[in-house]
């Protein structure tokens, strides 16, 4: 292991490369890639890799395609024939890719995609917003939202182990915030290939397309679809348990434990909770520390795994909190924050659950902004409509 100064984009590419090389004895590694700001650095680094393994055997193929739609299609083709696959995208690129994003999951392929969360346009805006990947929440993928570069790196490796588990067989999207992580370089612990190999077994897709006549992804009548959807949903249901096994294995191999699906901060005695995802939660921690200093028993809850939605973990984390602020860096127009919409039912009955939509379009959410929300929440006698909190650039 070594500490390297990496952006989260490069951390993702480095993790994917290691995971890919680790599969060289099996069917190899590859993916289709297409540039889009702020993800481009990731695929650039990927394109610089030489995948020849120690025996000189070329087992990696990065295909420079003409669109995100084809990038995912290449991953589908590769995964269906047994390779470990990776791609990355962002924002409108994900929107353009969407059809094949759904397809990848419906084929039950453990493709791993790194998404840099960026505002959808037009008007064009390259800064962070979670709306692009949240729009894919029904695509049948496992979704993780990361808080720092190391977590991006670790989650990529975890994603392969989790998605490729025969009990799961689902694609995984690993999200990171535009620029806040993607272009921010910090020391990142990068394990060596042998260590990664110990964590990631060879990938074998049970329904790999090979020689047998078979039509993969053909027609389903209603009866087949209702069963296939149920099975897909049940696979999602097995994810939390399998994920815990992955955490254990990860800890055993790498000596550090990845965060849980739902992570708490100073929640033990909290009676007011702030719920957020990704790097917003780092700011939330700071604000909580400040509030605690003022005697407010505040705590934080981070939703790291958004799909499958960790409802019971979240319910447990929120426990007896009477007031809950849910911070969304996204908006489902006409409703409010997506995280709020999905998690508000997890608070205890009678709790005041208020939604704050904040930092849209990459607005820099600072501790004072979070503190203002906390004060607002504490002043409330009842929850109101979602608040759009404007923080400026």
């Amino acid at each position: 292991m070594s500490l390297e100064l990496l952006s989260a984009n490069h951390a993702a590419a480095t993790a994917a490369t290691l995971a890919g090389r680790a599969n060289a004895k099996a069917r190899g590694f590859g993916g289709g890639v297409y540039p889009i700001t702020p993800q481009t650095e990731c695929i650039e680094l990927l394109c610089q890799q030489d995948f020849a393994d120690e025996h000189g055997c070329e087992k990696g193929e990065i295909v420079r395609v003409e669109s995100e739609h084809s990038a995912m299609a290449v991953c589908i083709g590769m995964s269906l024939t047994g390779a470990r696959t990776f791609t990355a995208s962002s924002s409108n690129g994900l929107a353009y890719m969407t059809e094949n994003v759904f397809a990848a999951a419906l084929y039950r392929l453990p493709i791993v995609m790194m998404a840099v969360n960026r505002t959808l346009g037009p008007p064009w805006n390259i800064w962070v917003d979670h709306g692009d990947t949240l729009a894919l929440r029904d695509a049948g993928w496992i979704q993780f939202y990361c808080e720092d570069n190391q977590e991006v790196f670790d989650t990529i490796l975890l994603a392969y182990r989790l998605g490729e588990d025969p009990r799961v067989l689902l694609p995984v999207i690993v999200c990171q915030d535009a620029f806040v992580l993607s272009h921010t370089m910090v020391q990142t612990d990068v394990p060596d290939l042998d260590t990664v190999r110990r964590f990631l077994p060879d990938f074998e897709l049970p329904h790999r397309v090979s020689e047998q006549p078979v039509t993969v992804g053909g027609l389903d009548f209603p009866r087949e679809t209702e069963v296939h959807r149920r099975q897909h949903h049940e696979a999602m249901g097995r994810v939390p348990a399998v994920y815990r096994e992955c955490q254990d294995a990860f800890e055993q191999v790498f000596g550090r434990r990845p965060a849980d699906a739902v992570q708490t901060y100073r929640m033990d005695d909290a009676d007011v909770a702030l719920v957020a995802m990704a790097t917003t939660f780092s700011t939330v921690r700071t604000a909580i520390d400040a509030a605690r200093a003022r005697g407010i028993r505040a705590g934080g809850v981070r939703v790291r795994m958004f799909r499958p939605f960790p409802e019971s973990e979240l319910r447990e984390a929120l426990g007896r909190c009477a007031r809950v602020a849910i911070l969304d860096r996204d908006i489902s127009l006409g409703l409010g924050g997506v995280l709020w919409a999905e998690s508000r039912a997890c608070a205890r009955e009678g709790a005041i659950v208020q939604n704050y939509v904040v930092g849209l379009g990459g607005g820099d959410i600072r501790p004072r902004d979070v503190d203002a929300m906390l004060r607002d929440l504490l002043a409330r006698t009842a929850a109101g409509a979602p608040e759009i909190v404007e923080v400026g650039s």
Binding site: P206, R208, Q212, V214, F221, V227
Partner: protein
């Protein structure tokens, strides 16, 4: 009508079931009813089973489900009929079915319901709705529906007008008139189970590693089926001898001359002869003539005979063996004798000349038919045990006696009457019947001529006379014919070869007098103009007054012959080839020119064969008398897919150079050196196992089988491509 009328339609993709449901709904809508109509949408394709539904009510319809317990069924395709179609039909319900069957025929199974039937497929096909294989019956059967369920034609017409379907209304009216209805039995309706079945298990995607073939039997979709059906080839249809021409040519094409000889031997003993002298009507009929030239069938027949004699090997006399006399040893008599002898009967031929052969020996010059060739084929006939009494011309008394002594008698005495000319100078020396001249040349030899010989006529005898005259020393030969070259009955190649040898052809000339003093010195010829076509289709010659004199040293008349009936004993009457005495049929049959007057060797062979068959049949022996096939039934050229075949000119043997051959009686035509010409045969109506049907079948269900191919009808969708693409019309579509 019940409070809520529910109708379920069963059809196939392409038949228009959804539109039919819509027509019915629209008709009720125009009667101020609330209606609802929809189809089942799936991966349906043309021919796949589909369902459509219509609901009718006085109140607004809120039911969004499919119809599980219909009041009425409409079945657009009879092949769908089964329990799944009738599932859930309410007691007292009705079913309207598109089928040619009567309702009574369906009553045994579904008689508890009102059954109405109409052959909508036939009606729609007659009205050209849809394509031949995918007939669209919706607008037709809706007419029948209106009748069964009491919707007036007027309402229906308005509905069709509104839906823009008036073009198909005539078919609807026809179905309205044609439908037959059978009321339900009073007996209680059988309960047709429609309970909810247990849901089938579904494999998970990750366990789905191999797919079984589809369970769909698409053969149910088809309304038509292809079938391999041998059709009559024109060459065979046109052959007066009844040779299986396409059969022997195909055998040659496959390199089997032996088989070719066997095939020919069934209908003729004289293939080497016909392969030289036959006018070959088969080649006139040959469909390849419409493309790049008829197959040189005559030469191929000769080729076969050159490889192996065609006559059957000796047949042992059997217990049922009978005795026959054949009078006349020409081609007809030989053919009759051959057909009788090869079936094991005892035959004696009575021939006036010293040797057998008739006109083959006395008329046809040896440069066309070498005598060793003739003798060999005659020998093969005699080898079957045929006896010969020759050298004496019989009298009518002899004939009567022979008839009494045999089980059957064949008269094949040919054309002994020679047509002469009733003009001035016809009796001059040097004016001679061509037939007599040929007789002298052929039987006596050493006939010498000199000077200019004029031959009158345009048939093969004229050509034989002209070319023989050259070979006998004539310095110059002219043929005068009253029509043009195109109308000449002579074989085309004979005319060409005569001209090559220096014979001059004068068309449109008719002799009006022979001039000379004791011996002919000139012939007066009048110019002829052609008028309207006569019964034979040839334009009638109209002799004009314009005349010219052609000096000559010898005239040969080749104007035709006719039968001599003086040989028939008193009281015998020849009618349709059979002899009657006092209106009583005798076991005596005429053959060849005596019977038909067709005048060719091949006609004579066919006629002799038929006479032999009739003689056997008259004795109660089981034979199917040979009949000349109907040319109308032969595969026409329009049914041949020419583009399948690469163009290649017909093969002809190179004749001996004219300057050499005109000096002697050696055979002119050396014959083909190979049978490659046989490969040009289209094989009209006869499968050659060319694989076209197999290669083009979209379903891949045409398979090679022992005799040819077989179609897997359980999958055949009846598209008809195999039939359309068959290059030679050896397949046909039939109703499924």
């Amino acid at each position: 009508m019940p409070e809520l009328l529910e109708i379920r339609l069963h059809g196939r993709g392409g038949q228009g079931g959804v539109t039919c449901a819509k027509i019915i709904a629209a008709a009720y809508a125009s009667l101020q009813k609330s209606v609802q109509t929809f189809g089942d949408y799936a991966g349906e394709r043309s021919g796949a089973p589909v369902r459509a539904y219509t609901r009718v009510s006085d109140a607004p319809i809120t039911d969004r489900n499919k119809v599980y317990e219909p009041d009425q069924l409409v079945v657009l395709d009879p092949h769908l009929l089964g329990p799944e179609v009738f599932a859930g039909l309410k007691p007292g319900g009705s079913a309207l079915i598109n089928t040619p069957q009567s309702p009574d025929a369906l009553a045994a199974r579904w008689g508890a319901f009102t059954i109405a039937t109409v052959d909508a497929t036939r009606i729609a096909r007659e009205h050209k709705i849809g394509s031949r294989s995918v007939v669209i019956v919706n607008t037709t059967i809706a007419g029948a529906y209106a009748r069964v369920h009491g919707i007036s034609l007027d309402v229906l017409r308005k509905t069709y007008a509104k839906l823009g379907l008036l073009g198909n209304f005539a078919a609807a009216e026809a179905a309205h008139a044609a439908v037959t209805i059978r009321p339900a039995h009073a007996a209680a309706s059988p309960a047709v189970a429609s309970g909810k079945p247990r849901l089938p298990d579904v494999l998970s995607l990750e366990a789905h590693v191999a797919s079984p073939p589809p369970a769909l039997k698409t053969g149910n979709w088809s309304t038509q089926r292809p079938r391999y059906q041998e059709q009559l080839a024109p060459c065979s249809a046109w052959c007066p001898a009844g040779n299986d021409v396409v059969g022997f040519v195909r055998a040659l094409a496959s390199g089997d001359a032996e088989q070719g000889a066997t095939i020919l031997g069934r209908s003729t003993p004289l293939a080497a002869v016909c392969g030289r002298v036959c006018p070959a009507p088969c080649m006139d009929g040959c469909n390849r003539a419409e493309y790049d030239g008829a197959v040189n069938i005559r030469a191929l027949e000769r080729f076969v005979a050159g490889q192996r004699g065609v006559a059957s090997r000796a047949a042992a006399p059997s217990a049922s063996s009978r005795r026959f006399a054949v009078i006349g040893g020409g081609p007809a008599g030989l053919s009759a004798a051959y057909q009788l002898a090869r079936r094991g009967h005892a035959v004696t031929i009575f021939e006036g000349e010293r040797a057998l052969g008739g006109v083959l020996r006395t008329g046809i010059p040896s440069y066309r038919l070498p005598r060793d060739v003739l003798d060999e084929e005659l020998g093969d006939v005699l080898a079957l045990g045929v006896e010969v009494r020759s050298g004496r011309f019989l009298t009518s008394d002899d004939v009567a006696r022979l008839a009494g002594e045999h089980d059957g008698l064949i008269l094949a005495t040919g054309l002994q009457e020679l047509r002469g000319l009733e003009v001035e100078g016809a009796d001059l020396a040097g004016v001679e019947q061509g037939i007599r001249f040929l007789h002298r040349v052929n039987l006596e030899g050493n006939v010498a001529l000199e000077g200019h010989v004029v031959v009158l006529g345009g048939g093969n005898t004229a050509m034989d006379c002209a070319r023989s005259a050259l070979r006998c020393g004539a310095s110059r030969v002219t043929i005068a014919y009253r029509r043009t070259r195109a109308e000449m009955p002579a074989i085309k190649e004979e005319i060409e070869q005569a001209e090559e040898e220096g014979v001059t052809l004068m068309e449109l000339r008719a002799p009006s007098a022979f001039l000379g003093d004791g011996r002919v010195r000139a012939v007066e010829l009048r110019e002829v103009e052609l008028g309207e076509p006569d019964a034979s289709g040839r334009r009638q010659p109209m002799v004009t007054e314009r005349r010219a004199t052609l000096e000559c040293d010898q005239v040969l008349l080749a104007l035709g012959q006719s039968a001599d009936h003086r040989l028939l004993p008193a009281g015998w009457e020849l009618r349709d080839g059979r002899v009657l005495h006092a209106d009583k049929a005798l076991p005596v049959f005429a053959a060849g020119d005596l019977a038909t007057g067709d005048g060719t060797v091949t006609h004579a062979i066919g006629s002799g064969r038929r006479a032999a068959d009739l003689a056997l049949e008259a004795l109660g022996i089981d034979v199917v008398p040979f009949e000349r096939p109907d040319r109308e039934r032969a595969v026409p050229a329009t049914e041949i897919r020419f583009d399948h075949f690469t163009t290649r000119s017909p093969a002809f043997a190179t004749a001996v150079a004219a300057a050499i051959r005109r000096t002697n009686f050696a055979e002119v035509d050396p014959g083909l050196r190979s049978s490659f010409e046989a490969n040009r045969c289209f094989s009209c109506g006869h499968c050659t196992r060319c694989d076209t049907c197999l290669v083009y079948c979209p379903e891949g269900i045409v398979r090679r089988a022992d005799a040819g191919y077989e179609v897997d009808y359980s999958y055949c969708k009846g598209c008809g491509i195999c039939v359309t693409e068959c290059p030679r019309s050896a397949m046909e579509m039939t109703d499924a």
